[in-house]
Symmetry: D2
Subunit: 255 residues, 4 copies
């Protein structure tokens, strides 16, 4: 651990990986009836794609897909943000992880894009919750605050075939692990999945808070944090750190 490894920050889109894990672990393949597995490939017209494809989001990591996953969990569990928080606490072995309410409230105030998406999803019958309630819940899960150290421990099971060293038990099947890493590899870092794989060669999930979690299957999980973002919304320095780290340690899964 180097730098501010224990400094908590807003995990933002990294929460999408948590909700997807919960959806797959609690509901199996059911979620794939409402969301796809392909990279979106279109920074320039996110609503256009959703519209042309009748409201079926491309993957669980674009906002439309993440909203569908949160909606699915809302129906199944009654609440999402607190469940996600408790899951993060348990798997990282940290009781001090929490949602920053102020951030959640402030982001909901400016959530017009996500509200537009949610209403469009509603038009196509893709969500069950009221758009406003759904987006509010989504803003809460995004406002979860964690440190690099906590994030790396939380997602370690994705590198150990599903076994949690903290809980001393298997928390997800190898099959789910493999599939989650596949989705991360092809859709995990916004519209830079190609160049990220080209440079780093690891499945990863990024957030606009500047955090990135990367998985080296069979070896380790890595979390980096640096707020400055590149054009795609990934941490600029964080990506560079992962690139250099993967090169020197020969961690890339691609040779």
């Amino acid at each position: 651990m180097v730098g501010d490894a224990h400094e908590p920050f807003s995990i933002q889109s990294i929460s999408k990986l948590l909700t997807l894990i919960l959806a797959l672990c609690r509901g199996g393949d059911e979620i794939w009836q409402s969301v796809g597995k392909e990279p979106s490939g279109t920074p320039f017209n996110f609503l256009a794609q959703l519209e042309l494809e009748s409201g079926f989001p491309r993957n669980p990591f674009i906002n439309a897909g993440a909203l569908v996953v949160t909606d699915y969990l809302l129906k199944k569990l009654g609440a999402v943000a607190p469940v996600v928080r408790d899951y993060a606490r348990a798997l990282s072995g940290s009781t001090d992880i929490d949602i920053n309410r102020q951030v959640a409230v402030s982001e909901f105030k400016h959530a017009h894009k996500n509200l537009a998406i949610a209403h469009l999803l509603s038009t196509h019958g893709m969500i069950h919750s009221a758009p406003s309630a759904l987006v509010e819940e989504y803003c809460s899960q995004c406002a979860l605050e964690m440190s690099c150290s906590q994030l790396a421990r939380l997602f370690l099971p994705l590198a150990t075939g599903g076994f949690s060293r903290i809980l001393g038990e298997t928390v997800m099947t190898q099959r789910i692990v493999r599939r989650l890493n596949a989705l991360l590899m092809t859709s995990g870092v916004y519209d830079s999945v190609g160049s990220f794989a080209y440079r780093v060669g690891l499945p990863a999930k990024s957030g606009v808070g500047g955090g990135i979690v990367a998985i080296a299957p069979g070896k380790c999980s890595i979390a980096v944090w640096s707020p400055g973002l590149d054009r795609s919304g990934n941490s600029l320095v964080g990506t560079l750190a992962l690139e250099l780290f993967a090169q020197r340690t020969r961690l890339s899964v691609l040779g």
Copy 2:
């Protein structure tokens, strides 16, 4: 080896991997000035994307990108299809690999889509060759015929860090190998990269001739062939064979 492992078939889009290897080995990073590294994500409007992005193709494996790579090699080497054929012969150690001229001629006759793309690329100054000559050369490289056995041997260096056991020498750097596998992982199998990674977990390149070549870095290369295609243009049975094979042998790079 099982089935018709020695039966030659049209490699079609798998030739795009060969031209990309040649472009990277002969010209280094220069090719990235004319083509991107991101998945296209759009089966429904390939020309639209190219048009909106000013003729800059998303990656070297969509037709627009492959045409740009072939154009680059045409300018650099004077010819492409024969060079690709000779390279395939050398690396697979098979002197009987050849271009099926009849297939090349017949495909050029119906190449209106590729001609539309080439003219659009011309409009944006992205190619130097005349569209008609470029598409004719491209049809020739796609008409290369190889067997599964030859394909697996040809691409083995992508699994061995660039070392060719047949030639007894390193034919590309580890860095290029890693990058090629990254591009295959995120853009290698048309618009199914997400579900292919989800099911198989290996970098791979497919062709509409029904062939697929997959790479297990550090372990082996695998070629399958079965002409029936799924909606995305990948071999239906070939993909299933790779999925089962990867599961039983735990070859997936993703855990």
Copy 3:
């Protein structure tokens, strides 16, 4: 007058012509800073267009444009639906015109598309009102109920250079009249402006309630009503009636 000329029906999108008249008469050219004058030409992806053009709606008769006009009037006048109702009463000389509150409430419940549009407009800073309040006001103006007889009288000034025979005074300038008719001619009947001009040859505004108002400049205004709609959302029989009427009376402005 033939048929149910005195039967009131929901004017729906015809209300967009009323709000545009009010915006032009009260604010002059100011409204053109927020909305365009060109036909949209795209039934298949209304949000895509808005998104690609940074939230600037193509014209005041598509929903995005009408919402911008209503937002403009909300800021200027404090309320829209009651003002529109009073204007309709005054110009048609009918005190019994009113908003059907039940229709307004019911349509607001299912207004997800318009809410998606309003939130997207908000993202681009194109509206000042809260999306929800704006769409509610818009649903009210659309729920105004009028009969053919009232509609024809209401819009007669568009055929008389701006003079209202009912009020005995000029209610808008000839210049505004000419411009309104131009906008109706090129954007008044959803995505059928070309074939409507081809068949009828008159500026007109239609609504999904089945009503159409057509203007024969210098001659008369005509209102028809028949609930069955064609693919574009225009009254099927109403359009046919106008076509036959225009042919027999040689009313077309196009020769």
Copy 4:
């Protein structure tokens, strides 16, 4: 007549009106099986629209539509450019109208966009000619040179219900006249039909050579020419001249 009324210039897209007249007069409604009547409304992605709508062009005045009309005439008449030239000579009573071969050849050399469109049309089975031959013929018809004086006389029948004063006979039915003016009104001036109707209020056809022909049904035809173009490709000064002329003479068909 003022200015260079007798100076010949390249009529370019105004030739699309000539081919449409020929198609309607010689083949009746048959042409509407291959082309639509609606404004395209999309400057930003002309190929995208064509692609999404399966190669069915929106109207006869966008390039895709004009190519379909020329293809139709090629099949029906064997040649197009010479027929168009002879028609223009006859109706304008000028034997000195001709095609500028040098312009035709030069434009064909840079016709990559039109070739892309033609190949895309071919993919969808919308044309019968070879794309290259079709585009060459199209470049010839666009290279027809005429003066304002000749253009105004040529299109006078569109203002006189189809009667040619020069030939002393009816050259098209009133029905065709009305329909041509409708298409001009809604699609005649590229992506500015809305603002052109708003400013001028007359059906018109423009060309990138700087010419515009406008029709005042029942009154007169007007031709203007000034090479400087606005963003949409219409003559800047020509449009302004028509706007002022229409205002002072109260020629607008819209009140």
